[in-house]
């Protein structure tokens, strides 16, 4: 699948905190093994119980748009062909309190609304440096 903001747009550099998000092909969020609290962005210590054993758990595939912006002025030359585009903040149905950024692929910016239910889809991109294949979580609007 081609990418929302162009196939040559910047990719994430993988690290121990974001590898599960960008490569697993599932929605996986950091979770405390002791108290089972979800936590995002990932951190070394659980903010709920101060536990230090943390893993990345699957949390379903749906969410809801809590807010969004529509970018009209590109802040990078490679984005000039993509404006206007929307970036949404999505609350995850399966990970209480967690809200993530993403693009809603099947809605024009002026048709997007707060409260819109969404389901995850993945942009699959071969890692240009020969590492993991990337599966970048994105969103599609669904019927409520």
């Amino acid at each position: 699948m081609s990418r929302a903001l162009g196939d040559d747009w910047t990719l994430p550099l993988l690290d121990d905190r974001n590898r599960a998000w960008f490569t697993s092909g599932r929605l996986r969020i950091q979770r405390c093994e002791a108290c089972e609290a979800w936590q995002h962005p990932p951190e070394d210590v659980c903010g709920s119980c101060q536990g230090t054993r943390l893993r990345f758990d699957e949390c379903g595939e749906t969410g809801r748009v809590e807010s969004f912006v529509v970018v009209h002025r590109a802040v990078h030359p490679k984005l000039e062909a993509s404006v206007p585009y929307a970036v949404a903040l999505v609350s995850l149905d399966g990970a209480q309190g967690v809200q993530v950024l993403g693009n809603v692929l099947n809605r024009a910016p002026d048709a997007l609304a707060i409260g819109q239910p969404v389901r995850v889809v993945f942009e699959t991109v071969p890692d240009p440096e020969g590492g993991h294949t990337l599966h970048i979580p994105q969103w599609e609007a669904i019927e409520s």
Binding site: S67, H76, Y85, V87
Partner: protein, 386 residues
């Protein structure tokens, strides 16, 4: 209210459009500091403390050598962020002077985004984004305007706030700048029609909702009241200052606990308790406007009004001019005067107490600066007349 430290002098460089300064950032900083020290009636050799914020490129040892300081007893900077630390930096100087660690402490900010990079631009972004940016860049979510717009959009949705409320903040800054010859928007008034006709930068922000980027510097000198008695100007007491709690990154700020918010609830609570006054007692307010939406949210968090009331609170010119219901950003602020990373707001707050603002509010007893919203830790400082 303590008042055990005072501001003895204020100074600034000429303000320039971004990239137009003939001086380097360091030269601009030295100019502002020299002017503040001169305004205080002190000699540079008497300065023994230097404070700034946002990992200032103009470090205290380099400044001390350039300015010919004889001793440096106190140098400090604040954690994290940028304009959120304007008042926090003043608080560090206040703490040093009250504790007796230094006698005359300069607080300053110099910024030349022509010489160095721009905050709002991601031109330096490579083919792979690292750390916090790795979570944001793939989705095209990059600049402070994007962060603040995301909070503002949700806030407007929750409380039914219209675009007119954002426009009212921009109009107040422009109107006040028309009285201030230092202001870069002096002689360039804004109308509601022009606001609405201006392009979107990132919805819900039009062009005029965003402060421009500028080159310049501003500085103050903080000292003890008994040392200031014989100086050039009436000293302006620091009555109270506060720093706050907030999320550790933009991404963290979008999580349930903090979203939507500007992270000023704790700052307000601490400041009012420390000062023994309330928001309604404030005579004149300088509130950092990186963007207009965060101003509305911060007014609510600081206790000036409830979110349900904020649209009416700022309507009908309620923030414009010296006789406003709440005189606000009387020099024009970041949007109207110049974006000196918010430090120009400190100078204006002090001018209001001295009685020499270009938009002078009558009989100012309490003059408040609230630093940059949207990034933590927030901070605020209250100046007053004794």
């Amino acid at each position: 209210m303590h008042g055990n430290s005072v501001v003895a002098g204020v100074g600034e460089s000429t303000f320039y459009a971004r990239g137009q300064s003939p001086d380097t950032e360091f030269q601009l900083g030295c100019t502002a500091i020299r002017k503040a020290v001169d305004d205080a009636g002190l000699a540079l050799g008497e300065i023994d403390g230097i404070v700034s914020y946002m990992d200032s490129r103009n470090d205290p040892l380099r400044l001390a050598a350039a300015l010919g300081l004889r001793e440096l007893r106190w140098s400090a900077t604040t954690w994290a962020g940028g304009g959120n630390n304007v008042a926090g930096a003043v608080q560090l100087a206040d703490a040093a002077v009250v504790a007796g660690y230094a006698n005359h402490v300069v607080v300053f900010r110099a910024i030349a985004q022509g010489q160095f990079g721009r905050f709002g631009q991601a031109a330096g972004l490579g083919s792979r984004a690292e750390g916090e940016l790795a979570w944001r860049a793939p989705y095209g979510f990059l600049s402070p305007a994007h962060d603040c717009a995301l909070h503002t959009k949700r806030f407007m949705h929750e409380y039914g706030i219209s675009q007119e409320a954002l426009c009212d903040v921009a109009l107040a800054c422009y109107a006040n700048a028309q009285r201030n010859p230092r202001a870069l928007r002096y002689g360039k008034p804004l109308t509601r029609e022009r606001y609405h006709a201006s392009p979107w930068i990132v919805e819900p922000f039009h062009l005029y909702d965003c402060c421009p980027e500028n080159d310049g510097a501003a500085a103050i000198v903080v000292t003890r009241p008994e040392r200031a008695r014989d100086l050039r100007h009436r000293p302006v007491p620091i009555l109270a200052a506060a720093q706050g709690l907030g999320p550790s990154s933009g991404l963290a700020s979008f999580q349930g606990r903090w979203f939507p918010g500007m992270f000023y609830q704790h700052v307000g609570r601490t400041l009012w308790e420390r000062a023994g006054v309330r928001a309604k007692d404030i005579d004149v307010l300088q509130l950092y406007e990186n963007f207009t939406g965060p101003v509305l949210m911060t007014l609510c968090e600081m206790g000036f009004c409830a979110p349900e009331e904020v649209e009416a609170f700022v309507a009908d010119g309620a923030l414009e001019g010296p006789a406003a219901r709440l005189p606000f950003n009387t020099s024009g602020g970041n949007i109207g005067e110049a974006y000196i990373h918010g430090f120009e707001l400190v100078n204006e707050a002090i001018r209001q107490v001295r009685g020499d603002s270009t938009c002078q509010v009558p009989e100012v007893g309490l003059s408040l600066v609230v630093s940059g919203p949207g990034y933590a830790p927030g901070s605020a400082v209250l100046f007053g007349s004794n």
